[in-house]
């Protein structure tokens, strides 16, 4: 048995109200590791790709990786995976917090949830076993209320829950862990809602995954702690959270403004920035289990129209999408919008992007006040925005149109709407402008869940947060607004970065420590004895597996494209006058990745990576 694994997985069928264990052999674990990579492998091997994502046949997988529960920094994570109801393709969403290590300590590496319960239920997994219990009294309540209610009986349990958005099958619904941590993207909360599964509760104390090399692990752990202590990046994240990016990103052209139509709004950024949050609203920094960085914000707004009780604060993405994207300079309104999205259980990026789209269409006169039920959706009107956030969660009024995300909304609204949506493969782009960083544009085009900044380490390598020349040939400093050399950078940053979601380690920790340290810790835990080439090769397999998954669902080269708005240069800001060279980026990337003219992995690539069964399905 490979080190680091609990040794079994739980399969629950909510239609039948049954459950049982299954195991995987060491060779499968060594090749697909865990987290989202192992989930994709399981999905392809065991489930139909034809099922509607909101049908009982779409499995919901909650997976840890071998490093989870080890105590190594940043390894509290887990990935929730399914076919996305928002995009129709592969969906994965990694989450920090508290849930992963406790799930592991119940003796399970992951849970696969099938079927649909007749009525609302809670799935509980603890040292005494598995239970499915009635959750009728929790249905209709928001994530904060549900979490408090469940923890009122035993505050040591860890809770994964959906809110009204998930219940109402909003395709941008998220899943929340202990209020402040979310599997946000691609609508996985709706998949959970479609199963009538209100919450998954874990409490594990007894099971402990053995490490292959305890002494080696202690050494790697000590090294990692010192590297994090010495890291200015880690220090900045601790002091300012991920919103440290706001000021810096506005200078470099990273931060989108006014639904991606403007830039260079320095005063706006300053109002919304990490330093401002720290000075005015931060009550404390919060850490996921076993994390010395503590990048999470706990905030409180004492007065004004957006008074908010002490609770989880917004990340950079939320500050941008409910701030600069909406021309809103009021950080307290962002904090309130974040709280609403947390409570209702919605992805802030998708929710905010859909609203920013509506604001633009309102300004153009394509959406009237009447259609909005009397809301004045002028730029920066956060009273109206907050009302709309609620409407989205409950699918009320105009909110019903936005509840499936910006792309679905644009299709229904027509006019110029589709030209105003920034997405790839149906997923709205996160708040990093590819006009400022062309490599990110390529990463958006090629990420397997749609436009994404978390399926790779491009954010770190292209923006200079990390430099790993020992891992692959790279420079210390890349100019953002050039496409030359970026395919190589993205390809390698994907192969390394995608491992974060199979090993289940936080991106920020992986940025702050050397690759040698991560490799050594991984090997000490698992005993796999990987060198850098093995790690990168495993990343290639991971990416190719998910690409094949999407190819089987109809994804091809035509879908690897940046939207019209991103291919339109801005007139001001750090990215002014710059657009990615899509042809160059894709041509070089396709050659590196071994994709054919259709955008399918070539047969020889699949065979080299040991993906023989996928090859048979793609080339039958």
């Amino acid at each position: 048995m490979a080190g680091g694994y609990a040794g079994k997985f739980l399969r629950v069928n909510l239609t039948e109200g049954s459950w049982g264990d299954f195991t995987l052999d060491d060779d499968t674990l060594k090749r697909f590791i865990g987290g989202s990579c192992l989930a994709a492998k399981l999905f392809l091997d065991r489930y139909s790709l034809d099922a509607d994502p909101l049908s009982p046949e779409n499995p919901l997988m909650i997976m840890t990786g071998p490093m989870v529960g080890s105590g190594f920094p940043g390894t509290s994570r887990f990935s929730v995976c399914a076919r996305s109801p928002q995009t129709g393709i592969w969906a994965e969403s990694a989450c920090g917090g508290t849930f992963g290590p406790d799930l592991k300590r119940t003796g399970y590496d992951g849970v696969v949830i099938e079927g649909r319960s007749q009525g609302p239920v809670t799935l509980t997994i603890d040292d005494s076993g598995v239970r499915i219990t009635d959750a009728s009294s929790l249905w209709g309540r928001d994530i904060y209320e549900v979490t408090d209610e469940i923890k009122a009986h035993d505050k040591s349990v860890k809770v994964l829950a959906i809110g009204p958005a998930g219940e109402n099958l909003a395709r941008i619904a998220a899943i929340g862990n202990d209020k402040g941590h979310f599997s946000g993207r691609a609508g996985l909360g709706a998949v959970m809602g479609s199963k009538n599964l209100k919450a998954v509760v874990v409490r594990g104390t007894s099971a402990k995954a053995a490490k292959a090399d305890d002494e080696g692990f202690k050494l790697a752990m000590k090294t990692a702690m010192q590297e994090i202590k010495d890291s200015a990046l880690a220090e900045g994240l601790h002091m300012m959270g991920s919103d440290a990016n706001m000021d810096l990103g506005m200078v470099t052209g990273d931060v989108p403004v006014k639904n991606w139509t403007s830039g260079g709004e320095f005063d706006l950024a300053s109002n919304l920035s990490g330093p401002t949050m720290r000075e005015k609203y931060l009550t404390k920094a919060h850490a996921c289990t076993n994390c010395p960085i503590a990048c999470k914000r706990v905030v409180k707004v004492d007065d004004g129209p957006y008074t908010t009780e002490e609770g989880p604060g917004p990340e950079y993405e939320t500050c941008a999408v409910f701030g600069t994207m909406m021309m809103n300079p009021d950080l307290t309104a962002v904090i309130k919008a974040n709280e609403f999205c947390n409570r209702y259980g919605m992805d802030t990026i998708s929710c905010g992007s859909a609203i920013a789209l509506a604001m633009e269409l309102y300004e153009k006169g394509e959406i009237t006040k009447d259609r909005l039920g009397g809301l004045d959706l002028s730029w920066g009107n956060m009273d109206a925005v907050l009302k709309l956030v609620r409407q989205i969660a409950y699918r009320e009024g105009f909110g019903d149109i936005l509840a499936d995300g910006a792309v679905h909304a644009a299709r229904r609204l027509g006019g110029s709407a589709m030209d105003a949506v920034v997405h790839v493969k149906g997923l709205e782009a996160p708040m990093h402008d590819p006009r400022g960083f062309h490599g990110m544009g390529l990463a958006y085009m090629m990420s397997n869940r749609g436009a994404c900044h978390l399926q790779h380490f491009v954010l770190a390598t292209e923006q200079g947060m990390a430099s790993w020349p020992q891992l692959f040939d790279m420079k210390d400093d890349y100019e953002g607004t050039t496409s030359e050399g970026k395919a190589w950078l993205v390809y390698n940053s994907e192969n390394y970065g995608i491992l974060a979601n199979s090993l289940s380690i936080c991106h920020y920790v992986a940025y702050a420590i050397r690759p040698e340290t991560l490799r050594d810790a991984f090997n000490a835990i698992t005993g796999f004895g990987f060198d850098f080439a093995d790690l990168l090769s495993t990343g290639m397999r991971d990416w190719t597996l998910k690409r094949g998954f999407n190819n089987l669902l109809g994804i091809s080269k035509k879908d690897d494209i940046l939207p019209k708005r991103i291919m339109t240069a801005l007139e001001e800001g750090g990215a002014a006058g710059s657009v990615p060279d899509m042809d160059l980026l894709l041509r070089e990337y396709y050659a590196l990745r071994g994709l054919d003219e259709r955008g399918f992995p070539k047969e020889e690539v699949l065979l080299k990576l040991g993906l023989n069964e996928l090859k048979e399905r793609l080339y039958r």
Partner: protein, 141 residues
């Protein structure tokens, strides 16, 4: 005529370049406090001893700009330390100072959020540094 880097004459020229810059005053209007640069020795590049540079910035104006001793350097509000080769990369804009900091190639002691908030000022003074006609210690080997 290039000026020898990290000498008092060079510091004077740098100060004059900042004062002459048409944008500096407005960009740096919020900045308060002194900055020291510590250049680690690199005998192979003709930097046999550590070099300490002290610069005082205040709301768009500049004050004392001196080559100093370790004690004075460490009295600054912000102290940035790095190898000579890294500083030269920064001056030549081959390596962005923020990226160097995040990658651990430069170290800083001081209020990091303050620097983040005033990143435009930091970028501006580095931009001007690159415009000073400089003879670097390893240029005339």
């Amino acid at each position: 005529m290039p000026i020898k880097a990290m000498t008092q004459e060079w510091m004077d020229a740098y100060k004059a370049a900042i004062q002459a810059d048409p944008e500096y005053k407005s960009i740096a209007k919020d900045w308060e406090g002194s900055v020291s640069l510590v250049v680690n020795p690199d005998p192979a590049k003709n930097v046999p001893e550590p070099i300490y540079l002290f610069m005082d910035y205040w709301h768009g104006d500049v004050g004392e700009f001196v080559v100093c001793d370790k004690e004075k350097a460490e009295s600054a509000k912000f102290v940035m330390t790095g190898d000579y080769a890294r500083w030269k990369q920064v001056a030549f804009k081959e390596l962005d100072a923020t990226k160097a900091l995040l990658q651990g190639k430069l170290k800083m002691r001081g209020d990091l959020p303050y620097v983040v908030r005033n990143i435009k000022t930091v970028n501006k003074v580095i931009d001007i540094l690159g415009k000073v006609d400089t003879l670097w210690p390893d240029d005339n080997k």
